[in-house]
Point group: C3
Chain length 389, copies 3
Amino acid sequence: MKSYIKDALDNFLFEYETPRQVLVKNRRVGIVCRLIQLGVLAYIIGWVFIYEKGYQSEDTAIGSVFTKMKGVAFTEMNGVQKVWDVSDYVFPDQGDSSFVVMTNFIITRGQAQSTCPELPDERNRCSSDADCLKGTFKRHMTGKCVNTTSTCEVMSWCPIEDDREIPNPALLLAAENFTLFIKNSITFPQFHVVRSNLVEVVNQTYIKTCLYDPENNKLCPIFKLGDIIRFSGFNFSQIARVGGAIGILIDWECNLDLNIQNCIPKYEFHGLYGNAKAGESQQASVGYNFRKAKYYMEDKVEKRTLMKVFGLRIDIIVHGLARKFDIIPTLTAIGSGVGIFGVATVVCDLVLLHLLPKRDFYKNMKFKYTTLQDEETTIHLQKEEQVKD
Amino acid sequence: MKSYIKDALDNFLFEYETPRQVLVKNRRVGIVCRLIQLGVLAYIIGWVFIYEKGYQSEDTAIGSVFTKMKGVAFTEMNGVQKVWDVSDYVFPDQGDSSFVVMTNFIITRGQAQSTCPELPDERNRCSSDADCLKGTFKRHMTGKCVNTTSTCEVMSWCPIEDDREIPNPALLLAAENFTLFIKNSITFPQFHVVRSNLVEVVNQTYIKTCLYDPENNKLCPIFKLGDIIRFSGFNFSQIARVGGAIGILIDWECNLDLNIQNCIPKYEFHGLYGNAKAGESQQASVGYNFRKAKYYMEDKVEKRTLMKVFGLRIDIIVHGLARKFDIIPTLTAIGSGVGIFGVATVVCDLVLLHLLPKRDFYKNMKFKYTTLQDEETTIHLQKEEQVKD
Amino acid sequence: MKSYIKDALDNFLFEYETPRQVLVKNRRVGIVCRLIQLGVLAYIIGWVFIYEKGYQSEDTAIGSVFTKMKGVAFTEMNGVQKVWDVSDYVFPDQGDSSFVVMTNFIITRGQAQSTCPELPDERNRCSSDADCLKGTFKRHMTGKCVNTTSTCEVMSWCPIEDDREIPNPALLLAAENFTLFIKNSITFPQFHVVRSNLVEVVNQTYIKTCLYDPENNKLCPIFKLGDIIRFSGFNFSQIARVGGAIGILIDWECNLDLNIQNCIPKYEFHGLYGNAKAGESQQASVGYNFRKAKYYMEDKVEKRTLMKVFGLRIDIIVHGLARKFDIIPTLTAIGSGVGIFGVATVVCDLVLLHLLPKRDFYKNMKFKYTTLQDEETTIHLQKEEQVKD
């Protein structure tokens, strides 16, 4: 028994199986086959390995963004001069990755809770109290029709905001010269790599004077608002008037097999919700505004200043993809490549065995036939075989 | 030398190797093998290619969301009527993807910096000044025990907020009828595809009148707040009272090999932090509230109105996955499939060579033995071989 | 015709092809080959399957975060005592995943729109009106030079903020003892799994008393601010003074083939934009501040209290990766493994046919030569073959 196992182990260890092959000396078949194999090889090496870097594994980044605006705007409305600084025109204050820079506004001062007639427009005219149903959820009507304006009376913050006309040109056109400073930090958790957009060449001195442009200063993290709009394909004065949403994509594509200093961000600018380039301005998606209330007490009564803010909503989106050599994708690519080599052999065999004039000859060379269906012939064959092999 | 290289090159170019094979004519083995091969083929074509679309490469989306609420609520507290509009009940104002709609609140008016006794509850009663230690970080105690309330005196914004009882029913129950408009734009950076949830069929006319429902208007980007709660499996009046967090998942699954118009979003609603469906209401995770202060000056003294806001925190989460035909995953899948075909051959050989009664016959057919251990037999064999092949 | 198809089908169904192989009995080759094959097998099973879990498919999480700070700070400035609670020192209020805890500030009270001289520093001194050009965008100059300060007069919110000196030590050093409560919910959309960081062991009782520490309470979702800073490698008093940005990474790595209770979060803390551990404090990236204005009306004039807020910006970043058994990656790994096995055979053949002394013998065994170039020999060979096979 023991010797039996030993024998089996010996056989397993010291034996080596290799497939027997036919070497076909045929120019046509040979060239066709070598071309197919060369194609497969070129694909595996050229495309999978070199172009698509199939020997690397990937990781996506998690990022964090901090922003800071700079600049001052000046307005003159009804003879009142006002200077607007960052605290006045950026919402929210704390430097998030998504924020709004006010470029235009409609201000309604001194609103208090009371009753007043609605603004007249095409739909809400009334001729008697019967036209004003009490208490729907869109506006809280008192049920009265006010004669002077021919509109229903509502209970609301009064006076009612009049936003039928948007100031033209935009009130804070100076926003074009505001600058935006972006700090972005990314982490590739799988590779334990942390990078900041303040890369090695962006030092203290450089940062104080630089301004981003896509040709000469493509790593400078300071952007002029007017440039951002222009890079996105919009017209500043138009978008400043009605508002709009711009995405700043910080794109990191890092090959970590190279020096980490080559891992640098690329800034891209595009309009969100409606592309400026196509004629999509007719779409339901143009303009950006929201209302902001500043509350205060006056003579023990709560009042508010309501602002309808038109502005640039800027979303900073971080997209990071790092690649690094990894044994698993490498071997998977090689293994799968060997498999595709097998496909090449199958194709060549098809040519050899079915298309060539001498196909029967090659079939004879390649295949050894055996039929065990009839027992007699089997025994016959078996003997023959034992003699041959 | 030159002719030697030429010969080698000739051999390489014009030769073709193909494995020699045994054609076993055996019904049982044949059927077993063909079934296994058919299974592998069905798996590769049916599962990998058709079901899992293994011939496509994937890209995840980066998205941007803008929201806008509409609606007015009316409250009457202590005889004072008040109307609440969007600026009053949505935090923050600027239409972020994560925001809170206030549905209930506890208001504490006219708080100023001063000293006042704490609210009595089970834990903070005192009988003498000794019970009130000075200056812990949770509340800033003065060290005095106030007789009238039997609680310690603290330095704080006074009067102290009394949040022991949450208004029931919720004060802004009208929130059920508020509507939420969502604009969502996504980008698949790898495929250079940009889409908005205002897809082709959602035009200006449709958007003015539509209201989302999962059957007939599943592309309408306008949602009733009450519906959102209902779709998430919650009870509106309960969640309006104590607050809660709802996730709206905008799910994009796009097959970019088809027409881009088929790339449409799917809206899903579910409770965050504690599922409404399971009996998880006992968990530590129910309710949502935060405090908001509105500051003002009164007679040169800074005061504030403190609101404990209970509300719906709505998080809009975008999840996008696009697939498109790509040569690499296609060939990887084919190559790996050929590999699995190889496994099929191994299994069939096992059956053939170890399980069939005629296994020795097949072994003889398949293998040619050679031993080079003993030099004598080798020479002997070598001669024999040369005669045979 | 019919019988022809039947024959072809019979042949296809009942025939089985298996490659003919040479069994080489050679110790050296045998051992080399088995070792190579064993290596490949060990790599596939050990590395791909067990270590890298290649039999599982992956899904990344989409998460949602809610935060709540607790704690009270006390300051005494110019004899005025003030207590700061959460509404006073956290921005924004509503418990977002990214927020700022104020630890230090410069306050400028009673700013109103007017004209006043700039603060003197190295760059903006003037000796006559000619030095003060009118109306640049950074500051809105009136064109006058004020003699008393020797600086230009600007139109602005006056008085001008004096931020030349940052209070030292930080005014809200008590922030060290503030606590942060984090609720995090994640969804793996592909696997339909929802988890919260309030896992099974974190019940109502535990949550009331626990405090996170990485050894004994690593699942407690309540963190001391001082601890967070310490875990990130910073010095609290320094960072409290000038501000800083900290990332809290909630890392979920879940093997969904195991019990769902093993799917628990791991909290990690690190500095954003400039690492505390390396000597990177010289980088352009240290400090965090922003300005916040509180507006109010005084005698019908809009005024504001401007605060330059220094603080901890805390970004909570959720990173989730779940894995679960899936048939596709399993079979892809197997198929690709079989392919790599093929590579092993190629290597062994190289040894056998080119390096061994008896290589010519093995070549004879493995290959059957055929030349169809000269027609005469072909016919000759063909006859020979028919006799042999």
